[in-house]
Symmetry: C2
Subunit: 129 residues, 2 copies
């Protein structure tokens, strides 16, 4: 694994992960939230497409590997504590969420209820067939 | 503590926390990332100003309690897995970061180095005096 200084400067948590926010590079919409380990971040930078660490499957997860909804990375930011990453991305297909919506943040709190306020652009059955 | 259904629908992690992204309600800039426990989220909704859980100090942290840089909450979103919260906020003073910058995400990866690309708006010594 690379010993790159910029990778050492990231403060990985006890599990070797950092939280990652993916934001649309043009509209600035927050599209999703995921995690990366060191290898995922390195591959993301090398390849220019977002690769995350799936905590549930415990393996690298090339975003879009099943759906085709890859994410081209336009810019990478690190926060003041060096422990959160922000990706500015171009979302292939305009769909980041596995529910077929543009963004994962489609539930809005209104009068004490979470309401799904964003439309499903494509049926997940069509995406993951 | 409240037994509100909307609070029960949030999937709190093993430590009783959720990651929270704070985004400028107007410009859509991602300003900071923090954590909330159930009480923090409930107080945030009740009071309309962001209250986080400080993992380092292990106590509730009213954003701006020292700096005056409070965050008025305009909208609250929850992601598709119910385990990440997005706040759309109005940032008092236009400064979210303890370094005196507008956003915490001021380090940009350029040619294998993290470069601070956003200006310090106010000297932290002036903010936390």
């Amino acid at each position: 694994m690379s010993k790159a200084k910029w990778l050492n400067e990231v403060k990985w948590d006890d599990g070797g992960l950092v939280p990652v926010i993916a934001q649309d590079a043009v509209t600035a919409e927050v599209l999703m939230f995921a995690w990366m380990n060191r290898e995922a971040l390195e591959i993301t930078v090398q390849g220019g497409e977002a690769v995350y660490w799936s905590r549930s499957r415990r393996k690298l997860w090339r975003k879009g590997e099943e759906s085709g909804h890859t994410q081209k990375v336009r810019e990478i930011r690190l926060d003041c504590d060096n422990d959160v990453v922000l990706l500015k991305i171009e979302q292939t297909g305009g769909i980041a969420c596995h529910t077929g919506r543009r963004s994962c943040f489609f539930n809005k709190l209104e009068d004490g209820r979470w309401l799904a306020v964003e439309p499903v652009i494509k049926d997940p059955k069509e995406i993951y067939k």
